[in-house]
């Protein structure tokens, strides 16, 4: 931990200061390079030991449209989106007026001095920065100006709220992975702005950052990178994808971390990354790969999922392992590609025509993104079926604080694969081998891989009706038998897949049921409600089909609130489908406002029904 070299700020502020508990929102133009400056701020706070989270609200465009980056510092470790903003850094003139209007009373505005932003509010503090002048002083060339202008607010923020310059310098170096020159150039501007602020600004607000010990041993990472690492440690060997926001960075970080999977001698890859021509081809490729014995995955989002419907049915019915990551965004249709939602749940569970159902894993934290990353590949081979993992834009593309990830606690699971020797032995013992016969009573058969050098290894794979011996059949009895086995396999999933995380004290009457990235908002909301005497239990479902205790949880409360971030309340619909008892005490609270869920929303909704 670095020491706080914060100079004493000259202040005219008298009231109690608010330390490490506010949200700072930076408004800029997309493509202006503000990621760097924001990353520098958030990393410095993290290094100061202050629990932080960053929410990036960016447009579906490459340059010029409004974008907001909200950094929340919270001493108690709450990392959900904060419903209020205390400090607004207004570096986008187009939105300045609205940004200021949305500011919490008593808040702070940091803004270039030469801007008009309409009505000024009496209840907020303004700090105006001479951006142009400072850049001229720093002799920044025109082509760098736009990007580096952002460093001006870094300097000002550092001074005003207490970010040690050495921290910032370290964070800068990380950002430019230790390239001294660009780091120095940027630092010069930060320092300039810092000094100017010190000499010209009078602190008139209560907000302060102070070094604390809230991040020791923690990591800061985006969900998509966690998923990528989980997949890499899960032994993925074929990745086929077609770019689509917000899933692209998942595959990107598999590429970025490919060194983990290069042969030390030859430097060659143990992962094939195939950029397909579209999502039909992407899933077709991983199905072919899974069939041939690779551990395969694709990552996509809504529109891509829609295009994968037919192939998903083939993989389920022909029983081929593969993993599909759906990093969800706001739909229907192309919708809002850069806004978050949990709106694909029902669709992926029932994906494809004709009585199709699929397992869906629901990671709620970056740690689970990693864990489900490797587990999904195991489940796929154990169940011989496509396994979906539903993350979302908020979880996948934002920075989250987390404990470090645990190394897989079990060896890689390949499920029931008969290689040459095992097949010989199997035939020895059973005097037969039928691809689609349920020998173990779990609904899962034994498969051979193409290329297995045994005269009886071959079987024919098809999406058409077949009997246990994998021969084509249109017989009603063969069909029924096969579908009954598949249903049995579906039941097997309830025990195998990750069970819910439950906090259940029978004495409490209110149950909250949710899943995925809403976790942080709910944790915070529960604490606040508890502080106000409203005690709640909490079950976070982590997979569909549901484990058996889900039903119990719903039925054992006077009030159950099913909290999700989509429009139709899809989790609640799935629950009703499975629970035939009276569920009028179960209220669907579906947000779907395009933003990550906030604790405030959860509290308001629940209180409105209590």
């Amino acid at each position: 931990m670095a020491v706080n070299i914060q100079p004493d700020v000259q202040t005219q502020f008298t009231g109690a200061s608010i330390v490490n508990d506010f949200a700072l929102s930076v408004a800029t133009k997309n493509g202006s390079g503000s990621q760097t400056s924001n990353a520098v701020i958030i990393r410095s706070l993290f290094r100061m030991g202050i629990p932080v989270s960053g929410k990036n609200l960016f447009p579906s465009n490459i340059k010029g449209l409004p974008t907001w980056y909200t950094i929340r510092a919270n001493k108690d470790g709450y990392i959900a989106r904060s419903a209020t903003t205390e400090v607004a850094v207004c570096f986008n003139q187009d939105t300045a007026a609205e940004d200021i209007a949305n500011l919490k009373s008593g808040g702070v505005v940091v803004i270039p001095s030469d801007w008009k932003w309409g009505q000024s509010r009496a209840d907020v503090t303004y700090y105006e920065l001479p951006v142009k002048e400072l850049l001229t002083q720093a002799q920044i060339g025109t082509d760098f100006r736009e990007r580096i202008a952002n460093m001006v607010y870094v300097g000002a923020v550092a001074y005003l709220f207490g970010l040690p310059l050495d921290m910032i310098n370290r964070a800068l170096l990380d950002q430019f992975n230790n390239k001294a020159k660009p780091a120095a150039m940027n630092y010069a501007v930060i320092e300039l702005a810092y000094n100017w602020s010190r000499d010209n600004l009078v602190k008139a607000d209560p907000y302060k950052f102070e070094t604390m010990n809230g991040t020791a041993g923690k990591i800061l990472i985006e969900g998509n990178e966690a998923s990528a690492l989980g997949s890499i440690f899960g032994g993925v060997s074929v990745v086929a994808w077609y770019p689509i926001t917000p899933s692209t960075s998942l595959v990107d970080s598999i590429m970025e971390n490919l060194s983990l999977r290069k042969d030390p001698e030859t430097g060659k890859n143990t992962i094939a990354i195939v950029q397909a021509e579209d999502e039909l081809a992407a899933i077709g490729t991983i199905i072919g790969a899974g069939w041939a014995g690779a551990r395969s995955l694709t990552a996509t989002s809504g529109p891509g999922i829609s295009l994968m419907a037919e192939f998903t049915g083939l993989a389920q019915f022909a029983e081929i392992p593969c993993v599909i990551w759906d990093v969800t965004r706001m739909g229907p249709s192309t919708g809002l590609p850069t806004r978050t939602s949990q709106g694909d749940l029902l669709f992926i569970h029932f994906l494809s025509h004709g009585d199709s159902r699929h397992p869906v894993l629901l990671p709620g934290t970056v740690k689970e993104c990693f864990e489900f990353g490797w587990r999904a590949l195991d489940y796929a081979e154990q169940l011989q079926t496509p396994v979906f993992v539903m993350s979302d834009l908020d979880l996948g593309m934002n920075l989250w604080m987390s404990d470090p990830f645990d190394y897989p606690d079990q060896p890689i699971q390949h499920g029931k694969v008969l290689d040459k020797e095992r097949l010989a032995q199997f035939l020895e013992e059973k005097n037969e081998w039928m691809r689609y016969r349920d020998y173990d009573g779990d609904g899962v058969g034994y498969r051979t891989l193409p290329g297995t050098d045994h005269p009886r290894a071959a079987y024919f794979t098809r999406g058409t009706g077949h009997n246990e011996a994998a021969t084509y059949s249109e017989r009603s009895d063969d069909w029924m038998k096969n579908l009954e086995r598949l249903r049995h396999k579906f039941e097997t999933m309830r025990d195998l897949l990750p069970h819910p995380i439950v906090d259940h004290d029978p004495s409490k009457k209110i149950g909250i049921l949710s899943f995925g990235s809403n976790d942080s908002a709910i944790i915070e909301a529960r604490d606040l409600m508890a502080a106000n005497g409203v005690q709640t239990n909490y079950m976070r479902v982590r997979a569909v089909p549901f484990a058996h205790n889900v039903r119990e949880f719903v039925l054992s409360h006077e009030h159950v609130y099913v909290i999700e971030n989509n429009f139709d309340g899809q989790m609640a619909q799935l629950l009703r489908m499975e629970i035939s008892e009276d569920t009028r005490h179960m209220v669907s609270l579906a947000c779907g406002d395009t933003l990550p869920m906030s604790a405030q929303w959860v509290i308001d909704q629940i209180m409105a029904h209590q």
Binding site: G217, K218, I219, L220, I221, L229, I232, F233, G235, S237, V238, A240, L260, R261, D263, T266, K268, N269, T270, I271, A272, V274, A276, D278, L280, A281, A282, G284, T285, I287, G288, A289, G290, W291, A292, G293, A294, R295, S296, E310, F311, L314, P404, Y407, P408, P411, I412, T448, P450, G451, T452, D453, H454, P455, A458, Y459, F460, T461, R462, G463
Partner: protein, 342 residues
């Protein structure tokens, strides 16, 4: 009689066909069986792919000792791409139809070729949708009439031309009624490194066999123009080449050496056609289209360009057979990663 690996021809058969008696597709299955038998293909190393259609049913009817995958309509190329990436030791034979390849599957077909996934891709082209009872496909000839569906007023796609333009390095056309040529081309294709496309006109005796139609059996028998007489000589085929070639005047005989050591020998019949010349290959097809000629044979051959798996720079062990130690990085690797996020 047993072949080099001690298998009879019948060993290379599959389940009994459920196609219409006389269907061209069945002849092609037989030609594949013969080719595999002659080449002594190890069946356990072969994989069969197809989409959906009468043609796509046929992989069940040959090489019963090989794994087969009857996928979905028109999207087989992507499945094959995945399988051949997962296990580069496999030998792939894909069968598709003109609807499966030219209509619903056209995009995947073109992208398969662009990637140059190593496999033999056979189109059993009857200019009609057989399995759905006789609708026109994208290769149905303009002006062609069908009993039920009337007149086709759209131009036909030429899948060989499309393959060449798309970057395919082995492109041939044949006729299911010309067993010897088809068989020889299949052998040659199996010796090729990269995607090898063979467009085989294969009459649908039930829905598109009117002698007036260009895809009918009678039409093929009457009008096939072989671009050359083709012979396939497996690796290590012995006799002094010079002697032979000596007998032939310039351009009368073309010998193409395949990367597996085998040789294709093309004897001129009456057409002047050098399959190694891209421009002439294109012109030959354009001419055939213009003048409505049914030309068959090896239309285009090019020195193999890198196959798809080569562009991926994979380890030599097939991905499907990696050891768990190669699949999962070490505990330390994770630990130091975690450090970097602190």
């Amino acid at each position: 009689m047993a072949n080099a690996i001690g298998l009879e021809r019948t060993d290379y058969k599959g389940a009994t066909s459920t196609l219409c008696p006389g269907c061209g597709h069945d002849s092609i299955s037989n030609q594949i069986i013969s080719a595999a038998y002659d080449l002594s293909l190890p069946m356990t190393q072969v994989v069969k792919f197809s989409g959906i259609g009468c043609s796509s049913k046929t992989p069940a009817y040959f090489l019963k000792g090989s794994h087969g995958f009857n996928t979905v309509h028109g999207r087989m190329p992507s499945v094959a791409t995945g399988a051949m990436t997962a296990n580069t030791d496999l030998i792939a034979i894909a069968v598709s139809g003109d609807g499966d390849t030219g209509s619903i599957g056209f995009g995947q077909f073109k992208h398969l070729i662009r990637r140059n996934v190593p496999m033999v891709y056979i189109i059993e082209n009857n200019g009609v949708y057989g399995l759905t009872k006789g609708q026109f496909s994208a290769t149905s000839d303009e002006g062609q009439e069908l009993k039920y569906y009337g007149l086709n007023e759209l131009p036909a796609l030429d899948l060989c031309l499309e393959a060449i333009i798309g970057g395919c390095t082995f492109v041939a056309r044949s006729f299911s009624g010309d067993s010897k040529q088809a068989q020889t081309l299949i052998k040659a294709a199996l010796s090729h490194r990269g995607t090898a496309v063979i467009d085989i006109i294969s009459p649908c005796v039930t829905f598109n066999n009117d002698p007036k139609g260009n895809k009918s059996y009678d039409y093929g028998k009457k009008n096939e123009i072989a671009l050359h007489q083709i012979d396939y000589m497996p690796k290590g085929y012995v006799h002094p080449r010079e002697e032979i070639t000596a007998d032939y005047a310039e351009g009368e005989l073309i010998e193409v050496d395949m990367h597996d050591g085998s040789t294709i020998r093309l004897k001129k019949v009456d057409q002047d056609h050098d399959p190694r010349n891209r421009a002439s290959a294109i012109n030959t097809l354009e001419k055939a289209q213009r003048e409505n000629l049914f030309m068959t044979g090896l239309i285009y051959y090019e020195e193999p360009r890198p196959t798809f798996d080569e562009t991926l720079h994979l380890v030599d062990t097939p991905l499907s057979h990696l050891q768990d130690a190669q699949l999962r990085p070490s505990q330390d690797a994770l630990a130091s990663l975690m450090q970097s996020f602190m």
